[in-house]
Assembly symmetry: C2
Homo-oligomer: 146 residues x 2
């Protein structure tokens, strides 16, 4: 898993995501050069692997092998999906204007994969220094919001 | 509460946040004109008010009055804090380069307020169309990550 410091959905149509990737990370150079990536979304079951991946570098280690993760081919980009993840988003870089100043990449999701059998996936949300908030229940309120 | 479509922490030092605000929202014009805002972070107890605020416009309605929320003065910006919220971030606009194309505002947090007595606040995470994931427990793993 690339060490994404943060991601946010920036628009729905087209589906645009903004990601900050530290220039110290191996991912930074690969993303700049290939203009493609896959964002894989792990759940609680993968917490140990998430921390393992975050504490090592792809420059020196084959993380798939080291952490027992399975590569599968993506449909529209060359980077692989992580099969164990709940969801994977194939992305292409669409705007690099803020990369130099903020390490901020704007990507468009060109293909999305999700395990539909899991209604309330226990996704992980980094609170810093190895602490992760685990997703709890989902509530539904009447709303006009998209 | 302004209807933030998404926020993400983009860097730690200085603390920078990226926010997409729809140009249809009253917040969009205010943020562009004043170059300041407060990001208030609500928890489960405020879910009904969050949806109420998201389904109405500050152009036509005094949301503080309509939803029983309390204004308190901020220290470094003119926009008010919402007293009932778990945390409030006073922000100043530092980069508007991507506003025209993506409605994306880059702000710096100049003052932060948090209710430290609440260790695991049940924050709300919009999944779309009135569905909110509620924050569950926080787990801690040994890690070198910031």
């Amino acid at each position: 898993m690339p060490k994404w410091m943060a991601t946010s959905s920036a628009s729905f149509e087209p589906p645009i995501i903004g990601c900050v990737v530290s220039e110290r990370n191996h991912t930074f150079g690969i993303l700049k050069a290939t203009k493609q990536c896959v964002i894989n979304i792990p759940t609680l079951e993968l917490a140990a692997q998430v921390v393992g991946c975050g504490n090592t570098s792809g420059r020196k280690l084959d993380k798939f092998k080291a952490f027992g993760l399975t590569q599968t081919a993506a449909a529209r980009v060359k980077a692989p999906l992580i099969d164990e993840c709940f969801a994977s988003l194939e992305c292409k870089l669409v705007d690099a204007k803020l990369v130099a100043k903020y390490c901020f990449f704007i990507v468009e999701v060109v293909q999305a994969w999700i395990d539909r059998s899991r209604k309330d996936p226990r996704t992980l949300h980094h609170r810093g220094r190895g602490a992760f908030m685990v997703a709890g229940e989902t509530i539904k309120l009447p709303s006009k919001m998209k």
